[in-house]
């Protein structure tokens, strides 16, 4: 690389990022040690918790990728001002690919179709495992998903980095050319991944809307995460000068949209299966609405949808970053509760939260955040030479 690069120290992340990165690493290491104890003494409880933590943090990574492509398609200052946060989020993908490997060892503990003794007793499972749900298919498809996501994340990050070099020609059009097909590819890959990794926990059950709940949930996790990060960054330069109430308002509106979309998909799944009332479909809900799991379902309806929805209707609430931040963090937590409610009832008929359900997701989160903050430090917080950056640096009506 030659030519003048943006080495403007004014646009780099504040030193507080270094502090949070170190603390995240400490949390990650401590909880990882506890997780390994869990793996040794309670492998049957460890792997469901590991799947929960993996899906939750993969959701933030891929949600960042989806919003990044979305903002390349739509344009707008709301996306440009958080673009470097989103890009740092997508660059955690290698970590998530690495963290996928333990799932391969946990397959017999997690998936009924991966246990030869049970497959031998069930003709339907024999057909499924022959055609689709088997180890080589599971691994091969996962490699394809991660490869496609990695190519998208790599190219978007590389081109964005090239923008910081003023000597290179303008490459803005390439982002859009990739992001349109990229969004379609992401949606297809994540749909298949949701079927492979989560829906196949109940291999007799199918729901066509189920993968969409994951897609929407991932974008919602990432939006919550971005609002939390921009709250921290906005206390310091340069974000304190870049982030305007209008941007925060837009982020609040997007959160409202995706809260409603999550409710729409979740409710549609429930309504269709409830109305059909077929034994092979309704069993999934019968398990999740009895034995104490019903309270988790009600909790989701109230605190993943109803209460956030009412708060987000208010204009003042959406424009006020300190209050919006609490709701954003809350929704990130509710995403984990939703995944918990979808995954865990497979393993226990009665509601129970094991210690590992908390320890393992926190361990993965510690490493994820360490990686994220390391990425965030590496580049200026604003792509200064992007043609639209002017709109952020100057008042709108001049």
């Amino acid at each position: 690389m030659s030519g003048p690069r943006v080495n403007n120290a004014d646009l780099l992340a504040p030193p507080v990022v270094q502090t949070i990165q170190q603390r995240s690493l400490v949390v990650g290491v401590v909880f990882a040690v506890m997780s390994i104890i869990g793996l040794l003494i309670r492998p049957g409880e460890f792997f469901p918790a590991y799947l929960l933590g993996f899906m939750a943090w993969l959701g933030v990574t891929l949600g960042c990728l989806a919003i990044l492509m979305l903002q390349h398609m739509t344009g707008g200052a709301w996306g440009l001002v958080i673009r470097r946060i989103l890009e740092a989020g997508t660059r955690t993908l290698p970590l998530m690919a690495l963290l996928f490997i333990p799932l391969l060892f946990g397959m017999p503990k997690l998936y009924v179709w991966a246990r030869a003794s049970e497959v031998a007793r069930d003709q339907h499972l024999q057909e499924l495992t022959r055609a689709y749900l088997n180890f080589s298919g599971f691994l091969g498809r996962a490699i394809v998903y991660f490869a496609i996501w990695a190519v998208l994340a790599y190219l978007l990050n590389r081109w964005s980095d090239a923008q910081d070099n003023a000597a290179l020609p303008d490459n803005t059009h390439r982002f859009r050319a990739l992001s349109g097909p990229g969004l379609v590819l992401y949606a297809f890959c994540m749909s298949f991944a949701a079927i492979d990794w989560a829906m196949s926990l109940s291999p007799h059950w199918i729901s066509t809307i189920y993968p969409l709940i994951f897609l929407v949930g991932q974008v919602l996790s990432a939006l919550g995460f971005v609002v939390a990060i921009e709250t921290i960054l906005s206390r310091y330069k340069p974000m304190s000068e870049l982030l305007k109430p209008d941007h925060v308002h837009d982020h609040g509106k997007l959160i409202l949209t995706f809260v409603m979309l999550w409710a729409y998909f979740s409710f549609s799944q429930w309504l269709i299966i409830w109305a059909g009332n077929l034994p092979e479909e309704i069993s999934w809900f019968v398990r999740r609405l009895n034995g104490g799991w019903g309270f988790v379902g009600l909790f989701l309806a109230a605190f993943h949808f109803a209460v956030p929805f009412v708060f987000l209707l208010s204009r003042q609430f959406k424009r006020n970053l300190p209050t919006l931040m609490w709701l954003a963090v809350w929704l990130m937590f509710m995403r984990v509760v939703d995944l918990f409610w979808m995954i865990e009832p497979t393993f226990h008929e009665q509601l129970r939260v094991t210690v590992w359900d908390i320890v393992v997701p926190v361990a993965i989160g510690g490493f994820w955040l360490t990686f994220f903050f390391r990425n965030l430090k590496g580049r200026p917080l604003l792509p200064l030479y992007d043609p639209h950056s002017r709109e952020i640096l100057e008042p709108a009506h001049e």
Binding site: F267, L271, A275, L313, P395, A396, H397, E398
Partner: protein, 178 residues
Amino acid sequence: MKRLAIYGMMAEFDTTSDLVAAARRTHEAGYRKIDAYSPFPVEGLADEMGFHKNAVPLVVLVGGVLGAISGYLLQYWISAVTYPINVGGRPYNSWPAFIVVTFETTILFAGLAAVLGMLALNGLPMPYHPVFNVPRFAFATRDRFFLIIFSSDPKYETAGTRVFLESLKPRSISEVPS
């Protein structure tokens, strides 16, 4: 409202930034009953004018809540009270099936409340408006930007307000007859 002979004093500007700066200074000078006109929406203008809330969001909320209640009660009344039919052994009051129509009536009532509430509160349709007494105001739909201080403002007085508006360096100043 008592009818004043003079409706207000109007200043004409060439650019949006002039208008926004003028709106800011007018608000800072203590004028509260002011309005601005432009051919297209200008970002930040409402805030500089001392944007005040109106009752439309409340009207929409009330409309939405009424829509939700009436939509649900309509279905409940039909399915559980006047004409109960056993569908596959499901309860008469099958709330999951009622949610879809309840949602639709919520949106319908909220939408109607938004339109009717807006019309009721802003006084439209309005066949006569004094600002059109100024011939130059026709440019407000093309490429000029106007700021008006209403004569109902407590700080309004013919000479002083004109001096103040002149300090904003407008293209022209007109007194608007009622």
